[in-house]
């Protein structure tokens, strides 16, 4: 993207267009740009305003009275925010660590080597990305009930691996496709063992990719609602479950404040990946977010 910004615009080089046509085109273009910016940003406006409003009745365009009531409520134990935050963090962090650990070797195999059955393997990994999880979750629930995994954080962590693993592997396969394993051979020739080679040579080289893959895994798990709802059975409380309750209950101020808390990791994601994101194949991973 950065390279594209410095390109000479094709339009400027093209001759023969009438002046008024060019001007009209420019007006349309700025209208589209304004539409995009407003369209993307508009939904954040009521979230921010509602979270600090005390009374905001129709038809006033801005809250009449401001207050931190919603935020103070979230600070009390009655809101269950602490429990939900802990639940979300424990589940999402564990899921991230597991999917990255199992995703690195798989990503390496898919990104670096050619082998029999590779296409089938890629297809198998893509299947959970496109197919909805509903049949899978309802199907596996019986088994989880029988083995005491339902209604437990462990059960929730296990089912979260279904949507996160394919994405993490796909991102890491992309990383390994541009990776040169020769450096590892050099390290080995110089006497490093496998572990040392991985820690000192491989990991530093793939680290940015691993970080992006991990963030994707974290966000996908963080955003899960259905899987936690069905397998957690109401016993495992995470932020999206709490938010859903408030969104339907009608207290808009609390729902808005909670939505903003829930946004935290996403905002972190934006800050950390803006530099890598544009033009990267990793964008595909956002499909399910």
């Amino acid at each position: 993207m950065r390279a594209a910004a410095t390109e000479v615009p094709a339009r400027a080089r093209r001759g023969g267009e009438a002046d008024s046509g060019v001007r009209l085109g420019r007006v349309i273009r700025w209208a589209i740009i304004a539409g995009m910016v407003v369209g993307v940003l508009l939904p954040f406006v009521p979230l921010l305003l509602w979270s600090v409003s005390f009374s905001w009745r129709f038809p006033s365009l801005f809250p009449v009275e401001f207050s931190l009531r919603a935020w103070r409520y979230l600070g009390t134990p009655a809101s269950k925010l602490g429990e939900a935050l802990l639940g979300s963090l424990v589940v999402a962090l564990t899921v991230t660590i597991i999917s990255v650990i199992i995703g690195i070797p798989a990503g390496r195999a898919l990104g670096l080597y050619r082998f029999k059955g590779k296409t089938a393997m890629e297809f198998l990994i893509l299947a959970p990305v496109i197919m909805p999880g509903i049949a899978v979750i309802m199907g596996i629930h019986v088994l989880f009930i029988r083995y005491g995994l339902s209604d437990t954080p462990l059960g929730v962590i296990l089912v979260h691996l279904i949507p996160t693993t394919p994405y993490v592997v796909t991102v890491l396969a992309g990383v390994f496709a541009n990776y040169d394993p020769d450096y590892e051979d050099q390290a080995r020739v110089l006497g490093a063992n496998s572990l040392r080679t991985f820690v000192r040579v491989t990991l530093p080289m793939i680290f940015p990719g691993v970080a992006v893959a991990g963030l994707f895994g974290f966000l996908i798990s963080w955003n899960q609602y259905v899987l936690t709802l069905i397998i957690g059975g109401g016993r495992v409380i995470t932020l999206p479950l709490l938010l859903f309750g408030f969104a339907r209950s009608g207290d808009k101020a609390i729902a808005a404040a909670l939505a903003l808390v829930f946004l935290g990791p996403a905002i972190l994601m934006i800050i950390l990946t803006t530099r890598y994101l544009t033009g990267s194949s990793a964008i595909g991973a956002f499909g399910r977010l």
């Binding site: 939904p43 129709f58 365009l61 798989a106 019986v142 259905v226 938010l243 946004l263 996403a266």
Partner: protein, 286 residues
């Protein structure tokens, strides 16, 4: 070069997750949709659940609504995304900033988008208030019911907000890799801007458009939380019907829930297959 055996060892943990959890779950779902539930003594598979759901008017109504919402959201966001990507590709002042804002909602959870849509588009929401200030409406009831509506407009609004950006960012990457050489060549051969788009740029963008839109379609057909949050009480989309049946106290509706989930999966598999075949024929024909 590493041996085949080692490669499969590297893939093994991921394979365990996908085969045991994903395929295993799918298989168990299929079995239970055939009323195979040994825990309650039913060991002879039958098609009762399928017969029951296909006999319900509610099922067909929900199927129609789900298709409408998924097709509508996919079509609108794809068209908007093409316009956005083409605009963002040109050079203008503040382009970097606009691209940053444009992709801002990529990692935002659908649930947060849904909450925002409620605050914007209900009859006393922010948009209705703007309409009131512009003198378009008097009371909230004058504003059309766009959320919790029987036609799923609120659901579509949320999907369009999220997925336009998703497809748009993919197309922007595609356009970046295409470059401007082909267009310039066409221009030097006398093609006007419209012809350049129609005969040069659009065909080159087509693979990206097709694959991004099928992901969006499959997602919006099978997803569950946004219809549950923004949909009407009746009719609801197919995944919501399935979930309601699943949580029903009556055990026989559980196999119907499974049957519906299997039907949802089958429809998406079929449509994805047809879509991929069609797009492959289309791409090969040129």
């Amino acid at each position: 070069m590493e041996g085949q055996g080692r490669i499969w060892i590297m893939l093994a943990p991921v394979l365990v997750v996908i085969v045991c959890l994903y395929l295993g779950g799918l298989f168990l779902g299929l079995l239970q949709s055939l009323s195979y539930m040994p825990m309650i003594g039913q060991t002879v598979p039958n098609l009762q659940a399928y017969r029951a759901i296909f006999g319900h008017v509610e099922f067909w109504r929900s199927l129609a609504l789900t298709l409408e919402v998924a097709f509508g959201a996919t079509l609108i966001s794809t068209l908007l995304a093409v316009v956005c990507a083409l605009t963002l590709r040109g050079s203008f002042r503040g382009r970097r900033f606009v691209i940053f804002v444009f992709q801002l909602n990529l990692p935002i959870p659908h649930l947060v988008g849904g909450v925002a849509i409620i605050m914007l588009f209900t009859q006393s929401g922010l948009v209705a208030r703007m309409a009131r200030i512009l003198g378009l409406i008097d009371t909230p009831s004058d504003f059309p019911a766009l959320v919790f509506d029987p036609r799923g407009i609120g659901i579509m609004l949320e999907y369009v907000w999220k997925e336009t950006v998703f497809i748009g960012v993919i197309l922007l990457a595609v356009l970046h890799s295409i470059g401007t050489d082909y267009e310039e060549l066409a221009a030097s051969l006398g093609a006007n801007p419209r012809q350049q788009f129609r005969y040069v740029l659009l065909p080159l963008m087509m693979p990206g458009i097709l694959s991004a839109s099928i992901i969006v379609f499959a997602f919006s057909f099978g997803a569950f939380e946004i219809p549950l949050l923004l949909g009407a009480t009746y009719p609801v989309t197919l995944p919501v019907v399935a979930y309601r049946a699943y949580t029903d106290a009556d055990l026989s509706s559980r196999s119907q829930a499974m049957a519906m989930s299997v039907v949802i999966t089958a429809i998406i598999t079929l449509l994805t297959y047809v879509y991929m075949r069609l797009s492959r024929t289309y791409l090969r024909s040129r």
